[in-house]
Symmetry: C2
DNA sequence: GCATAATTCAAACAGATGTTTTAAACATAC
DNA sequence: GTATGTTTAAAACATCTGTTTGAATTATGC
């Protein structure tokens, strides 16, 4: 028998990813999970903290795996941008073994969290991501030490946008890809396409403006 | 005296951008706009159509300007990726003359619309953007005719993600930039930094994998 | 100036929301 | 087996939501 607390988390996770936070009511969750309405407030205190709890499960696993991946990269002597960005593939796809379709669900949640109103999820997530993101930034910077800090900052967020946006909306993109090109793509394949694309952007030299065409 | 309909549109626009659609109630709008609650349903029918009306004002101007920009580029004989992407700068910044902080507001709305639940705004927007986006795609493809259609598709959406995500969250980024680097940046400056970055990504050749480092 | 239409207004509507309450059921320990 | 603490249950709570109503007001055309 699955504990009530877990039943709530599992169902909330699914519904949040599908419909968003504001659009998912506690009654929708408790009805689908077959638990009492009051149990959410009993176990989690409020809806807000339930949302954070849903995030926490994913983040723990993700940041753990990402940290390990960073360690590996750090030990390499001549790692490149592609290596650092490629380090994201594992931690993302590993979420699928945390739960069926885990990576997809997490990316949906992430996208929604970023568009969130008061940004309380964003703030909450940033606290947990802070150290990992810092290591990630440092490794990236090590591959392109010539880049000025402010340029680093912007490029990092440009990339972040592409990642979150693409993966949060991957369902729609997958459907289009299948109907237009007969290509059924997984999240892993999307990320693997995205990595060299962003790596090329990241390692371009802004001192030579782009006049290097034949 | 500003017509009630416009008062509603102006205030709704501001609140939607600041707080999101679901989190902005008609009572918040009508109170701030100093109009009667019922006037929203009288003038717009429903909240849903009000949201669309808010979008429409921006989209008309944006697509118009973007079309003009495309015409110019099309007439050049040897336009490059940077030229096509650079064509976005004008139409975006022009929104500031449509209304104070217009580009910022519009980008906020766009970001929120993309995270929207049922995607009714997304669908609505896509209908209006369809032809412009198609021209945009064609011009981009013309700069890199070797790219296979599916690779084109993905790169286009990777870029779209970077643009929308960055510009939708520009306020936070601007604040960080100012506190960390003492650099006060405008949306125009962000876009102008983003364009060569994405251009470099877009024009990278995936047949030669990235081994072209010194 | 009058009739007609368009707009504004206050009030109420019906329903959904998160949260709290109080009692019942359950589990655990002694 | 009784006492204690934990969990579930049904119901009510207060509040907020978008929308509708019907009368009052204002503007428009003649």
């Amino acid at each position: 028998m699955i504990p009530t607390k877990d039943k709530i988390l599992n169902t909330a996770e699914e519904l949040f990813a599908d419909h968003g936070f504001a659009e998912t009511s506690l009654r929708m969750i408790t009805a689908k999970a077959n638990v009492n309405l009051a149990s959410v407030n009993y176990h989690f205190g409020s809806k807000k903290t339930l949302i954070q709890a849903v995030f926490e499960r994913f983040m723990q696993r993700f940041t753990l795996d990402l940290g390990i991946e960073m360690d590996k990269i750090e030990k390499q002597k001549n790692f490149k941008v592609d290596d650092v960005l490629g380090g994201l593939v594992g931690p993302i796809t590993n979420l699928d073994q945390l739960r069926p379709d885990g990576s997809a669900v997490f990316m949906n949640l992430l996208g929604r969290a970023y568009a969130e109103t008061q940004g309380h999820i964003r703030r909450f997530a940033m606290e947990h991501y802070a150290d990992v993101l810092k290591r990630f930034t440092q490794l990236l910077h090590a591959t392109s030490p010539k880049l000025l800090p402010d340029e680093m900052f912007w490029r990092l967020h440009f990339m972040l946008g592409s990642f979150i946006f693409t993966l949060a909306g991957h369902q729609a993109l997958q459907e289009i890809s299948e109907s237009d090109f007969d290509q059924k793509v997984s999240i892993e394949q999307i990320v693997k396409r995205l990595v060299p694309f962003m790596a090329a952007a990241f390692s371009y030299d802004s001192t030579l403006s782009a006049v290097t065409n034949p």
